[in-house]
């Protein structure tokens, strides 16, 4: 039974949880006294200090250090070369570099298309699975399988699936279109390769979007639909007026997660195409990796990393504000 706000059942639950909290509060000072006179505050700090230290050591310090390095000529492979302060030179050079903008365009193409496809398919699948047909549990598990695989594994086996001579993908396309299987190559063609990486990402991560959307759909109380039925609202009207608006915060959350994740996509694309052919699929993170760990231009790549971080952080913040507006409606 779903507790309806204001019902007797909900009130009982609330009062029960309050009792537990009250008892816990009563007990705490005694416990603190027993531990060698430590106050609650000290005890709390004792417990959170390791986490804060760890956070400072592995998150905050590297971030500040990266910001510092982004203004210098530092190279990690040449520690004996004096570090020179360059000011905003790297930022200027990155923001005016056509290769960087090309990489950003590739990233934008990848992010936009994967998010659109995954959202549409993910929501569609969630809507179907929510109908609780016979065997829906089994289908849910099957659909979720791709997202449980490692991106390295996915990248490798899709390389085989896309192989023009032996790959299953080409044979399936050949079967439906009548084209010879080896007449096109998904990973070696400049027109097809950007779509090849979109297909693989959509295959892998649509189930994740589906899962979040399913949670959204299942959170919609049945009584709203019952009320709509009483008012003789059509299924179509119910979808547009109840299902979609109420699931929208969840959909937006899924979009946010996938967009952030794909903005920094590296492993799968690197395994599938290595950024090629040419630079057709060279997403920003591959460019960054090459600058940081192949060219060892640490200062330059730090500046690029900060630019990417600010971009993601800024866009995510704007998006979260929009999400909050939707939720408060």
């Amino acid at each position: 039974m779903i507790p309806v706000p204001g019902s007797v059942h909900a009130m009982n639950e609330l009062s029960a949880s309050s009792r537990i909290t009250y008892r816990a509060v009563r007990v705490r000072p005694g416990v603190a006294r027993r531990i060698r006179g430590l106050s609650d505050k000290t005890l709390a700090w004792l417990f959170i200090t390791p986490t804060i230290v760890l956070l400072l050591a592995i998150n905050i310090f590297p971030l500040l250090w990266t910001i510092y390095l982004s203004f210098t000529n530092y190279r990690a492979n040449r520690a004996n070369v004096p570090t020179i302060w360059l000011g905003a030179d790297w930022y200027q050079s990155i923001l005016t570099d056509p290769d960087i903008w090309a990489a950003m365009q590739v990233t934008a193409h990848f992010v936009i298309w994967t998010v659109v496809i995954e959202t549409v398919l993910g929501f569609g699948l969630a809507y179907l699975i929510d109908k609780k047909f016979r065997g829906h549990g089994l289908w849910t598990t099957i659909i979720l399988l791709p997202m449980m695989l490692s991106p390295a594994v996915v990248g490798n086996f899709w390389t085989f699936l896309y192989q023009p001579q032996i790959g299953l993908f080409n044979y399936v396309v050949a079967f439906f279109t009548g084209r010879a299987a080896s007449s096109f190559q998904m990973l070696g063609d400049v027109t097809l390769s950007p779509w090849a990486i979109v297909i693989v990402d959509a295959w892998m991560w649509t189930p994740y979007v589906m899962l979040i959307c399913l949670a959204g759909l299942r959170s919609i109380p049945d009584y709203i639909y019952e009320a709509a039925e009483v008012d003789r609202a059509s299924k179509w009207r119910q979808f547009w007026s109840i299902t979609l608006p109420m699931a929208l915060p969840f959909i937006m959350l899924a979009v946010l997660f996938r967009a952030i994740e794909n903005f920094k996509m590296f492993d799968m694309v690197n395994l599938l195409t290595g950024g090629g052919p040419g630079s057709t699929t060279e997403v920003a993170s591959i460019t960054l990796k090459r600058a940081a760990f192949e060219s060892w231009r640490t200062g330059y790549s730090s500046a690029f990393a900060i630019i990417l971080f600010v971009t993601v952080f800024g866009l995510a913040n704007i998006y979260v504000k929009a999400l909050n507006k939707v939720k408060s409606r």
Partner: protein, 448 residues
């Protein structure tokens, strides 16, 4: 709660001892004498494991090996060197690393050691000394002992060439007998002849060549064409002056020829092929010709399906401006961060021995020692020995500057963009390359 705190203290102690004490313990201290040798994971590495057993038997020093696949080899070990890691006591590092490793103090300079132990660089093939040991180039400053000679060569399906139907058809089409190509133009004809042809009911293709984008593949492949067409890295009279040498009209033709070979005569899906993809294509009977490093030839010759009488070997054919080939191979160096330098140097001394070098060649490694290579019996000691010797006499290497990785990346991008992704013209690609390389050298403070 006291118990919990006690448990926490014990756990912290365990963590401290694991990270603190454990990290400070070297293999040599822990297991008597053991040194670690780092290299790529490939056939010659297995031969080295076998060979090194003699060293352990003789010296009592144990050997550990850290082998990494080629695609991650540079990333993994350059990371290790740059982070001053002491994982490797000895490293067989790529020839292009020598400049950076020497200037950044990652390798131990070996001049004094060579002098003390009576090891002379005159005992090694000159190309390997320049390529694997010296920095700056052509100066007597040695950072490695030439360990594994290598160059790009070609394999072909001897059994296909010997088929009467192939011979007849080829002669009818090209007006000459099919045979080992002497020029790049002949190579293209052969590759085109086999492209899409049916052999024993199976569709086969012309050639497997290097097109890999991520690391160094397409550069290692295209260089064999560029050198033969007249490409030079810089003006021999004015170092780092590249205009008219990198992007000369003849170099442009070389790049166009490589693209032409890629477009006309490679198997479908060969847009990102390097060593292992070439081996797969050849071993599975897909291609008539294969570009690859000599290091793989012993293994290919032993292959039950395509080896033995079915395989032939030839050097990179000549082009309009001459005949050269891309240098591969590596020298063996002592890592300056190693805590077992004495044992590592002992290994190098042992490895330089004449008998050891002979056994190295016999096991499948490519010795660089003149005592092995200049032996009259050497050319007939293996079906590819003569070709290897010939190739080592005409090798050219990529830049070995400290900024080699950046220079390599620029060429990878420019060439792949043109050859595989059909972006722009060959002239634009090489002009762009000159622009990139100039910017890199300018950042390095070079004057040109």
């Amino acid at each position: 709660m006291k118990r919990t705190l006690k448990a926490l203290v014990v756990a912290c102690g365990a963590v401290v001892s694991a990270f603190g004490v454990g990290a400070g313990t070297t293999p040599a201290q822990a297991q008597g004498k053991t040194i670690t040798l780092c290299w790529a994971a490939w056939d010659p590495a297995n031969a080295l494991v076998e060979l090194s057993k003699d060293f352990t038997a003789k010296s009592g020093i144990g050997m550990k090996f850290e082998f990494v696949p080629w695609t991650n080899y540079a990333d993994r070990f350059l990371n290790e060197l740059n982070s001053h890691g002491s994982l490797c006591d000895l490293i067989i590092g790529d020839s292009q690393w020598i400049g950076g490793a020497a200037e950044n103090g990652q390798y131990v300079k070996l001049n004094d050691f060579f002098k003390k132990e009576g090891i002379s660089m005159d005992d090694y093939m000159p190309a390997t000394v320049v390529g694997y040991s010296e920095w700056p180039k052509n100066t007597p400053n040695y950072w490695a002992l030439p360990a594994m000679g290598d160059a790009v060569g070609w394999t072909y399906r001897k059994d296909w060439f010997a088929r009467p139907d192939v011979q007849t058809d080829f002669k009818a089409k090209y007006g000459r007998d099919i045979g080992v190509p002497k020029t790049l133009a002949e190579l293209r004809d052969i590759a085109q002849f086999f492209q899409g042809r049916e052999i024993d009911g199976k569709k086969v293709y012309g050639a497997s060549i290097y097109t890999e984008r991520g690391s160094e593949g397409i550069t290692m492949g295209v260089s064999n064409y560029l050198y033969d067409y007249g490409f030079k890295y810089d003006d021999p009279k004015k170092p780092y002056s590249m205009d008219g040498f990198v992007n000369s009209a003849s170099a442009v033709k070389g790049l166009e020829a490589y693209k032409d070979l890629y477009k006309c005569c490679t198997p479908p899906g060969a847009s990102n092929s390097y060593m292992s993809e070439g081996l797969d294509a050849f071993k599975s009977g897909q291609v008539a010709l294969q570009m690859n490093f000599f290091a793989f030839f012993p293994g290919l010759y032993k292959d039950p399906n395509v080896g033995g009488d079915k395989i032939g070997f030839f050097v990179n054919p000549a082009g309009p401006a001459g005949q050269a080939t891309q240098l591969g191979g590596q020298g063996i160096s002592v890592v300056s961060y190693s805590k077992n330098q004495a044992e590592a140097l002992q290994y190098i001394k042992w490895f330089s021995g004449g008998d050891v070098q002979k056994k190295w060649w016999a096991l499948g490694g490519y010795s660089c020692a003149k005592s092995v290579l200049n032996d009259p019996s050497f050319p007939n000691s293996a079906p590819f020995a003569k070709e290897f010797l010939q190739s080592m006499g005409m090798v050219v290497d990529f830049w070995a500057e400290p900024s080699y990785a950046q220079l390599l990346q620029a060429e990878q991008k420019r060439v792949h963009d043109y050859v595989v992704a059909d972006k722009g013209t060959a002239q634009e690609a090489l002009d762009g390359l000159v622009k990139d390389w100039k910017a890199i050298f300018k950042e390095e403070g070079k004057k040109f």
